[in-house]
């Protein structure tokens, strides 16, 4: 696959950089090695603009637009890090951590591919983990006894990457956003179990979850065995 041609250049943190046709500021920045933090972004999905951690300062634009939903434009001047932005992001991340409490921030990497992203953002921005304490928003479904996907929504931060990957990549539309505001939760129809829905247990949702709220039960079971079982030899596989 060839990448689209450069469509122009813009100023990014004082550097003149090229961007591609239709590319967002966030995508261009990451391609040029500038790490703009984000929790709701997955480059396979349509940009959502939910977490707002990727907010940037754009010259001539009021406020701080989300860089994931801002198209790069010729002659745009963007700052990804200013003292004010750093401070706003750090405070926002403290709010995010407060949503489920800081106690369960560390999760087993075997839960899923992206499961360390929240911790990594915390390590990067170093927010005060004890601020903004209050009610937690999670609503785990320990009753959903399917063997593949652990629905540990007590860790959920409502980025909806799972819902979006299910629709946009897998085409299953099995899960949805239910409720509103702080009470939002991830659900199948009628608040039921995955096996009664159109879920195919493909695991895409597990692998895009940035907090480990969705986890790969098979991988975790594997980790719980003392010694990994020896791989079958080629001869054994043939028989």
């Amino acid at each position: 696959m060839t990448s689209p041609p450069a469509a122009g250049t813009f100023m990014l943190d004082g550097r003149q950089v090229e961007f591609r046709e239709g590319e967002s500021v966030l995508a261009a920045a990451r391609r040029h090695g500038i790490d703009v933090p984000s929790l709701c972004y997955d480059d396979r999905l349509e940009a959502f603009g939910g977490c707002r951690l990727c907010a940037v300062a754009v010259k001539g634009v009021n406020g701080f637009p989300a860089s994931c939903t801002t198209q790069a434009q010729p002659d745009m001047e963007v700052e990804t890090r200013t003292p004010e932005l750093d401070d706003l992001r750090r405070t926002l991340l403290a709010m995010v951590v407060s949503e489920n409490g800081s106690e369960r921030l560390a999760v087993d990497p075997l839960r899923g591919l992206a499961s360390q992203e929240l911790q990594e953002a915390v390590a990067d921005l170093n927010p005060d983990l004890d601020r903004f304490k209050g009610a937690t928003s999670g609503s785990s479904r320990p009753d959903d006894a399917n063997p593949f996907i652990l629905r540990d929504y007590d860790l959920c931060i409502s980025c909806y990457r799972c819902v979006r990957v299910c629709a946009e990549q897998e085409g299953d539309y099995a899960i949805t956003v239910a409720g509103r505001g702080f009470g939002t939760n991830i659900s199948v129809e009628f608040d039921g179990h995955l096996r009664d829905s159109s879920c195919t247990f493909c695991g895409q949702c597990v692998q895009t979850c940035p907090t480990g709220a969705l986890a790969d039960r098979k991988a975790m079971r594997f980790a719980q065995t003392e010694e990994p079982p020896p791989l079958p030899t080629r001869k054994e596989r043939r028989t």
Binding site: A55, G63, F182
Partner: protein, 552 residues
């Protein structure tokens, strides 16, 4: 009573079928059953999970054991001043609803499709709100020019004066003349955003893609705002003429009125008005515009955020009503990603008057360099609540003391909310402001949709702030993190303010929550909540400090 398949078939013949079906099934079954949601999902080829998830977003849809006919008692900020929470507690089968847009005649109770008014002494039918009183200053008006004329709300009454004359003239002179007059008039969006109307219509006219759409935003959900209700009740044809002119000027073929759930009587009245317009060839196939332009009413289902245009368009399309990322804007990518005008009721109602009288006339209605007029809803602790049309730049004190009659006898004004609740609370010390954005912005507030709730000196502004923040927390959609988490945390802080609270930490957190919400929220809802909490800290520090002190 229609069967599932009959309803699905009827829905298939019209645009924006999802909201229509939700309402029909909700009426038929008194609640939204899993069977109905399955029928909608298969009928509209939507994922069942999404039908369910989107239905759970709306306050008024009963998915559980409740019934559509259960009474809903308004617990908006004004109705709470009248004790509505107590009434709600006394009535076990009732449920609470957010501000229902009847702050001039509190407390409304919505039951099925009818509204009643509950007062200390009686429960009475209240199909319509009060007519705006004659302009107390004797000033020339635009929106209310004819609203008090007898039978203005009927086709015959509307056309007996100069109704549809602006349209007839426009049909003679052409769309560009309409756009030019609007540009010259300086008319800007009266829902609060203030975008120039002529420019919006022209952008849609010039944008590629059909069908183009006109949406009248009648989802008046801002607490303390009830102006759109009055305009639609007493001068609905002015709004329809404005929409037809918008369609003519921009080349639109499709029109919607997105009407809030809490105005059921208007649903009937507007359907009748649309029928009258179709009968005389103003709407429908091969109409006087030479198009097939028609208008469809879609009823919201209870969600403040749907007054935000991106949410409104998603709601119309049957999607989850999250705000949309902008750009692109609705003028190029609106309803079904086609060019779309979204205008507030008041904006549309102004257009026929401006076209008849001319741009110069409208400009001159404003004070100083300011252009035109604004309808302001005044309610709360004031002698004469109601809708008043004022020139931009009119003094707030003159409106509250002279026009609205001042505070109830024996008390003094203490505070007033601005932009409904979205502009936070002004202290009475700031009542020398004028009613326009530059003046109010200088007080860290805004005029917005122009609802003003007045509080006298018997009110506790910490409590009133809590009521306001509770509203925003309840209505936060859940899309963006700053608002979803911040509105909840602000609510908890306001619930907890007291002598056991660490004052410095409290202030530090509330200031930081507000700062993040103001700077990083994806739409105006989170910004508004920060205006409210900031205004408490800035304008009422004494009352706040008192809360931190131990009672004597």
């Amino acid at each position: 009573m229609y069967s599932n398949s009959q309803l699905i078939e009827m829905a298939g013949q019209q645009p924006a079928p999802f909201l229509w079906l939700l309402d029909q099934f909700h009426r038929r079954d008194e609640r939204l059953t899993p069977d109905a949601m399955r029928a909608i999902a298969s009928g509209l080829r939507m994922p069942l999970a999404d039908v369910y998830g989107t239905a759970t977003f709306y306050h008024h849809l009963n998915l559980g054991n409740g019934s559509r006919s259960n009474p809903r008692v308004c617990t908006g900020p004004v109705c709470r001043l009248r004790g509505s929470e107590q009434w709600l507690a006394d009535c076990p089968q009732a449920q609470s609803m957010a501000c229902a847009g009847r702050c001039d005649v509190p407390v409304p109770i919505l039951q099925g499709d009818s509204t009643h008014r509950l007062t200390d002494s009686a429960l009475e039918a209240a199909a319509k709100g009060p007519l705006p009183v004659p302009n107390p200053g004797g000033l020339p008006e635009c929106i209310f020019e004819h609203i008090r004329q007898p039978h203005q709300a009927t086709y015959e009454g509307y056309t007996a004066r100069d109704g549809f004359q602006a349209l007839d003239a426009a049909l003679d002179s052409g769309p560009d003349r309409v756009l030019q007059t609007l540009d010259d008039s300086g008319l800007a969006g009266r829902g609060g955003a203030g975008f120039p109307t002529g420019r919006k219509w022209r952008s849609v006219q010039e944008a590629p893609g059909t069908p183009k759409t006109i949406v009248c935003n009648a989802d008046e959900g801002e607490p303390g705002c009830f102006k759109d209700r009055a305009i639609l009740e007493y001068d609905p044809y002015a709004v329809l003429e404005g929409m037809i002119l918008a369609a003519f000027a921009s080349g639109a073929e499709l029109g919607f009125i997105y009407l809030r759930y809490e105005y059921p009587e208007l649903l009937t009245q507007l359907e009748e008005a649309l029928t009258a317009c179709r009968t005389v060839g103003l709407l429908g196939p091969a109409n006087k515009l030479g198009s097939d332009f028609d208008i469809h009413i879609r009823r919201g289902a209870g969600a403040y955020v749907c007054g935000e245009e991106g949410s409104l368009l998603n709601s119309l399309e049957g999607k989850h009503p999250f705000p949309r990322n902008r750009p692109p804007f609705p003028v190029t990518h609106g309803y079904l990603q086609k060019p779309t005008v979204v205008n507030n009721v008041e904006t549309l109602a102004a257009v026929p008057h401006i076209l008849r009288h001319g741009a110069e006339w409208y400009r001159d209605l404003g004070r100083g360099d300011l252009v035109g007029t604004k309808v302001i809803s005044v309610s709360g602790d004031v002698q004469r609540p109601g809708n008043y049309e004022v020139p931009f730049g009119f003094p707030l004190s003159e409106l509250l003391y002279d026009w609205a009659g001042g505070p109830p006898s024996g008390s003094n004004f203490q505070a007033a909310s601005m932009a409904g609740l979205s502009g936070g609370f002004l202290s009475a010390n700031d009542f020398d402001v004028t009613l326009d954005e530059p003046s109010l912005r200088s007080c860290n507030s805004m005029l917005g949709a122009a609802g003003i709730i007045v509080y006298d000196d018997t009110r506790d502004m910490v409590d009133e702030t809590r009521v306001a923040i509770e509203f925003f927390a309840e209505e936060s959609c859940g899309k963006c993190f700053p608002c979803r988490i911040g509105s909840r945390r602000l609510r908890e802080r306001l619930d907890a303010v007291g002598p056991d609270t660490d004052r410095d930490e409290w202030l530090d957190e509330v200031n930081d929550l507000g700062r993040v919400m103001r700077n990083l929220s994806a739409c105006g809802l989170g910004v508004a909540a920060s205006f409210v909490s900031d205004s408490l800290v800035r304008n009422f520090p004494d009352q706040l400090e008192q809360r931190f002190e131990a009672p004597e």
